[in-house]
Amino acid sequence: MKPVFMTYTKKDIINLAVCMVLSVLVIPTFITTEYWYTSILIPWLCLALATIGQQIVMGYTGQLALGAAGFMAAGAFAMFNLILRVPDLGFVGSLIVSGLIAAAFGILFGLPSLKVRGIYLMVATLASQFFIIWMIDKFGWFKNYDSSGIITAQDIVILGKPFTTPLAMYFVCLAVTTILTLLAMNMARGSTGRNWMAVRDMDIAAESMGVSLLRTKVQAFAISAFYCGVAGALFAFCYLKSLEPVAFDIKLSFKILFMCILGGLGTINGAFIGAAFILLFPVLLNSVGNNVFHGAIDATIISSIEQVIFGGLMIIFMIYEPLGMAKLWENLKVSFKSKMSSSGIKSAKSSAQKSE
């Protein structure tokens, strides 16, 4: 298919239009309960954004990194301090700068990728997770010497207008996520993405073609951390509405890793699918527990079942469909289309027979 605008084909533009209509018009008109915005849609957008970051470094560049939550924490606390100390920057400016600060950490912790790979790199990148959280905990300056441990996030004000209702915050997240997703797509489909994937698939050949491993890997880590940083800032300011280092612990890193793998490595839309699945599945399980078994199953057991199912799914996907749910969705569309067209041929045939 020929791209008609930027890197997008006609199909992409239709998909984008459908998504935009759904998210800008349909969802705000039909969903009125606050619960959906504050507990599902906002965290979904934030975590999907962080998952795109994880995709860039892991799915596209093939570097096993585990520390997305660390970069999210860096972004969130940078945001808090920027709004507090440099109010002139404004919300959007602060958001960009906090992304850049997270990117600087990304470069620092991406450097081991030049020497170690695979599971060893994963262990090395864990350092980012622990170091950043430790740093924020250790130095009171980052938390503005707040003794309670939990700081309330400042209100979001853009161009003098407050964005404090769930719906308004949802729109802030939506706007940021949409823009960054489009930029990520441009990179993934352009020469930048090809360099990433070349390094992933065969680094020695990539180097022989003039792709610098140093630059490509560090660039991927920086961009990934930028995405995580922005996602972390949104996560703290729109979803948690508070800042505490504990919120960005290793569990969150693993959650983002799962979203990345279940969604489909090396896909952008997989980030959204994976994030939706991991967020919605516990909700579904809970409502099944409450409505079908009427609370007969203990809540702790339900949450344990959730872990078991996630683990099982990870294994199943790794064996049978390494490209994850995004690929399943693609297959489903293809089989649906071929069924449609074959039934179309049949009906055409039968009508032809009738006319005979």
Partner: protein, 264 residues
């Protein structure tokens, strides 16, 4: 077959001087020197384990030889890495296929255009006009190579799903896309049937003839080597035992001994 060559064989473009390479205590190459002239087809042959692939890896900077130097256009290159060599205009293929398996044929060849891509990731993310122009040029050149290699029908297929012979072709295509002055081919015809081999020879000669690209190739099929190369260097146990035109090499007693075996 005396015909007028568009690109006359010229001065030495690549010189390998006294290279020695060993892994631990095992000597792979010992004090080896030879040169490659501009626009020629140069073959490196030798029995298994003679150090042919190691030689290419030294030229390309994947291995660092303990001794010896590599000169490009008369200039000694102090710190060879694959990246530096690529920038100097030297591209290569690999013995055991080093393609980007999950990427399409077109994308693989587009990676070969890396050195002709000057835009950075920010420009790509924002899809500035410069990016579009560059991408269009790179795609056009890649499509040209694809139609030259007669692989138009598979250009959107992920390379990992292609049969071996086609993958070899794609790898040649990727090396061609760099527009390099020298291409090193590590066993470009290994595992191919007669027909595929003939095709590959045709492509190699055509590239050499039309673009003047200097070709250095490792090959086991003696018939092929003698047919297409201008000069042949023979390695055995990491040493040069013969160097010259195919006819000279064929009549060299040392070469005959190495290939047929000799009683000690």
């Amino acid at each position: 077959m005396e015909y007028e060559r568009k690109f006359k064989i010229g001065k030495p473009i690549l010189e390998v001087n006294n290279i020695s390479l060993s892994f631990g205590g095992v000597k792979a190459i010992t004090d080896t020197s030879f040169n490659v002239l501009e626009h020629e087809v140069r073959a490196i042959i030798g029995p298994n384990g003679a150090g042919k692939s190691s030689m290419l890896n030294c030229i390309n900077g994947i291995y660092k030889p303990q001794q010896g130097t590599v000169s490009f256009r008369g200039q000694q290159i102090p710190n060879i890495t694959p990246n530096i060599m690529a920038q100097m205009g030297l591209s290569r293929t690999f013995q055991n296929l080093a393609l980007f398996k999950r990427m399409s044929v077109l994308d693989n060849i587009l990676v070969g255009r890396k050195l002709h891509t000057k835009t950075n990731f920010l420009e790509v993310a924002l899809q500035l006009p410069r990016v579009k122009k560059e991408e269009k040029l790179n795609r056009e050149r890649s499509e040209e190579i694809i139609s030259f290699l007669e692989i138009e029908d598979i250009k959107d297929t992920p390379v990992g799903k292609l049969p071996y012979g086609l993958q070899k072709k794609v790898e040649l295509g990727r090396a061609l896309a760099t527009d390099s002055t020298i291409i090193l081919l590590d066993e470009p015809m290994a595992g191919m049937n007669v027909e595929e081999k003939r095709d590959m020879c045709r492509f190699i000669l055509k590239v050499n003839d039309e673009l003047g690209t200097t070709m250095v190739l490792i090959e086991h099929d003696m018939g092929v080597v003698m047919d297409i190369s201008d000069r042949v260097v023979v390695l055995d146990y990491g040493k040069v035992i013969g160097d010259g035109t195919p006819d000279e090499v064929r009549s060299n007693q040392k070469v005959i001994d190495a290939y047929l075996g000799v009683e000690h």
